[in-house]
């Protein structure tokens, strides 16, 4: 550690440690498969696609993996024409 290190604010290592713990918890639980959030994302989109003709460009997915809580935010624009189309089929 350099001389200046003695005067520096608390190190960044604790932040690194916390970030890694959260990330690895998510990665390990998925065993090389997609994790729960990715599964939910895929299944929700699949169900939606059964009912309406979804245009991929009208779907926005946001995801934030947290320590205690994660959020999955799926935003789908449903044009009425798409609903009508699915009704006919």
């Amino acid at each position: 550690m350099s001389f200046l290190g003695l005067f520096r604010r608390r190190g960044s290592a604790p932040v690194a440690r916390e970030r890694l713990q959260i990330l690895l918890a998510h990665e390990r639980s998925s065993h090389g498969q997609s994790d729960l959030l990715s599964k939910l994302r895929d299944e929700i989109l699949a169900v939606v696609a059964q009912h309406i003709a979804v245009d991929h460009d009208q779907v926005r997915v946001k995801l934030e993996r947290g320590d205690k809580v994660s959020t999955l935010d799926i935003d789908i624009e449903v044009p009425h024409s798409a609903v009508a189309l699915a009704g006919i089929r």
Partner: protein, 271 residues
Amino acid sequence: MNKVIVVTSGKGGVGKTTTTAALGAALAATGQSVVVVDFDVGLRNLDLVMGAERRVVYDLINVVQGVAKLPQALIRDKRIDTLSLLPASQTRDKDALTEDGVARVIKELRTKFDWVICDSPAGIERGATLAMRFADTAIIVTNPEVSSVRDSDRIIGLLDSKTELAEKGERVEKHILITRYDPARAARGEMLNINDVLDILSLPLLGIIPESEEVLRASNVGTPVTLNDPKSAAAQAYRDAAARLRGQDVPMIVPADRKGLLDKLFGRRAA
């Protein structure tokens, strides 16, 4: 004008990912739109260095395979809104990255961004050759150390033969970026000198990034060093390199031996 840049080296651990994040942030801070693309399939890290690791929804392979559209896979940086990340996949098979698929993605990125910066995996295999394949410009990240210089030379050979531009008989524009430069060791003659490196590789110098604690701290917190420690010598060096990429003529700063000075003032400490 939009440009595809590959950040490459052959050798691992020389600072490619750090450089991709820092240059990406420095270019985006000027208001130009930038996407950084992680080509290190199976070992992604750019998301971590950029602090976006918890927000990955889709990745490069999802886009290549058509599972997701490009806009869905792009992660917008929370600090600079002109900066985006396209993450590599962590789990899937490397062979899923096809040349045609990569060509399509790069072509689409070119229409959306001023700068497309591709973070190459180490090695000279498929991942590395795909990352450089469609580049206009290459940044060869080199440490002033024998094995890094040798590997850079191999990579330069690939840039001159395996890229799309080379196959068309044109040239990829190539720059050397010296990173992890330790002024104290350079002063003691323990490290290859910068002119030696440039003589051997005979390419122009884009910048010299000092070995610095600030870089380590920046990756700990997941913020490119140019944002996390804008006043540091490393941040300044990355900003200057970004300015040179934009065609500006910026005087080259050779990192000074600050630690050496402290050593002299306070007496030498054991290394």
